[in-house]
Amino acid sequence: MVELNGVNYRAGGTEILRDISVRFRPGRFNVVLGPNGAGKSTLLRIATGLAEPLSGDVRYAERGLSAFDAQELARMRAVLTQHVELAFALPVAEVVMMGRYPHFGRVPSARDREIVREALDLVGMTDKEQQPYPTLSGGEQQKVQLARVLAQIWAPRGDGHRYLFLDEPTTNLDVHYQLHVLSIARSLIDERTTLVAILHDLNTAFQFGDHFLLLHQGRVAFEANGASEVPVEVLERVFAVHARPISDPESGEIFWRFNL
């Protein structure tokens, strides 16, 4: 579990996050929603240890984040960001191997290589493992990054807990890659895996998410368990849109049509 207690953050005199207390539990797909500038990315930076809160604290499995050293944390916590560009022509397998860097000294072990293969296999990129990363399409590159991030926390040591954060992972991806990346992430969830994703597309979020946190102007606007519990009138207010439910005639599932 990732726990934020009374987190405040300011940058350049502007309040970015105010008194955020939230628990991201393992075993479910935690989604962070919010309009642009709501503080989602800052929240993620603080939750992953990239930034320190002005006040308040972050705990992983009840242990304060400051008690971890960087390498120890890197062995159990990984972050998939938006599109990562590489200026150099590194083969795909080398990029994925970077995920194992926190686990070995100078030379990767046979197990590290095996994990790289397994991760590439999981994302369906095995046949491209020798291809230079910059020659892949955007969608393929993002799958490689997913493999790298998964290789990083493939077999966590210690208590076996791992923490995966996705920061708008499907921005710029076509619908196939979007579904693919999120399905893989979803398939990893278990009682020792905490998954937190910032997602922009609300319908995609409702399709994949279990638990929803809406940020608005640096504060928590609501928390909801299950898409059906989301207070739609708050969504409408925060995003300044009108929402109309449309139900799938076959499954009865609800989709939302948003209008200005």
Binding site: L50, L73, A87, A89, L90, A93, Y101, R106, V116
Partner: protein, 350 residues
């Protein structure tokens, strides 16, 4: 499977280096046969009784040629590794050691000693003796690099674009300083600065060879530890931090190592441009952009290519010789432009 073994490439580069070293030791105003060279080395080591008939050749070989070969190889290795480290730091292959003000600062520091060393203004350098030039070069390089680093880093992060622009400004100031010194210098000194600004191995001696060798061993030995971290930095500073590295600390350490190596090499042989740019580029095309490979490989290839260039410098206008920097610039600048073209066309390097 993942290609991780670079052994074959290392062996090929090492063979190239050995061939270049032997050629560079043999060819010049005095030419030596392999038999002569091994006999001289044997004599110097006391394994063979000296043959007085060859005393002149032996002296030329042992006191002039060998230190020159060593200084050349070590300078090439340092410039190659330095280019690799800087490109890793800037995440851009169009970076040269001279970019962060390092070379220009070193040049200014050394020029101070050349011009004012005899006077009272720099009397404090006199106890340093022959070390005055490298020490002041290091100070100049370090101050210049530090200014560039300070200007370009805020909130603990280095902004690459600011770094590039700050480098241009600091280079201009240092260049003006060196220009001023050569203007006010009395003739022989001015000539000294001009030659040295073009890069030359003619002044190499054993003293310099040992100094540069010790700096090389320490700095490149330490640099070898940063292969993984520089690879991770390719993904960006945040991604490197998420993999457990400390980007700010890495950048500072690599900058210091780089400054030390480049300053000592520059103090010894002057400004040699484009080697640091071209060496890593060739290796990226030849084999891989993996820094675990690039760092040792750029030392080997840098040393080998510098020997080849030095041989050309000795032959092309024999019995005189051309400053090294002229050749590296003439060969390196078109390659630099070609990399630029390729980059803008493909958006991909290496």
């Amino acid at each position: 499977m993942i290609r991780r073994s670079y052994t074959a490439t290392y062996v090929a580069l090492a063979l190239l280096l050995v061939a270049a070293l032997v050629a560079s030791a043999a060819i010049g105003a005095f030419s030596f046969t392999p038999a002569q060279m091994s006999r001289f080395i044997g004599e110097a080591l006391g394994l063979v009784t000296p043959n007085d008939a060859e005393a002149l050749g032996r002296n030329v070989f042992l006191q002039l040629r060998l230190p020159r070969v060593l200084v050349g190889a070590l300078t090439g290795a340092i410039l190659g590794v330095s280019g690799t480290l800087m490109q890793g730091l800037f995440r851009n292959p169009i970076v040269e050691p001279g970019l962060a003000g390092t070379s220009a600062g070193a040049a200014l520091g050394a020029a101070l000693v050349f011009v004012l060393g005899g006077g009272s203004a720099l009397a404090f350098t006199r106890p340093l003796g022959t070390l005055a030039v490298p020490v002041l070069a290091f100070l100049g390089a370090f101050v210049a690099t530090l200014i560039v680093y300070r200007v370009s880093s805020s909130f603990g992060k280095v902004n690459v674009f600011t770094l590039l622009l700050a480098g241009i400004a600091v280079n201009a100031v240092c260049g003006a300083g060196t220009g001023f010194l050569s203007y006010v210098a009395r003739d022989p000194q001015a000539r000294n600065i001009i030659f040295w600004n073009l890069g030359t191995f003619t002044t190499a001696d054993w003293h310099g060879a040992l100094l540069i060798a010790s700096i090389f061993v320490v700095c490149v030995g330490l640099a070898l530890r940063y292969g993984k971290a520089l690879n991770a930095l390719m993904l960006g500073e945040d991604a490197a931090a998420l993999l457990g590295f400390n980007p700010e600390r890495l950048i500072l350490r690599v900058l210091v190592l780089n400054t030390l190596m480049v300053a000592v090499a520059t103090a010894m042989v002057g400004v040699i441009a484009f080697v640091g740019l071209v060496i890593p580029h060739i290796l990226r095309m030849l084999r891989s952009s993996d820094y675990n490979f690039l760092i040792p490989a750029s030392a080997l290839l840098g040393a080998a290519l510098m020997e080849i260039v030095d041989v050309i410098a000795r032959l092309i206008v024999a019995p005189a010789e051309l400053p090294i920097g002229i050749i590296t610039a003439v060969v390196g600048a078109p390659i630099f432009l070609w990399i630029l073209l390729r980059q803008s066309r493909l958006g991909v390097y290496g």
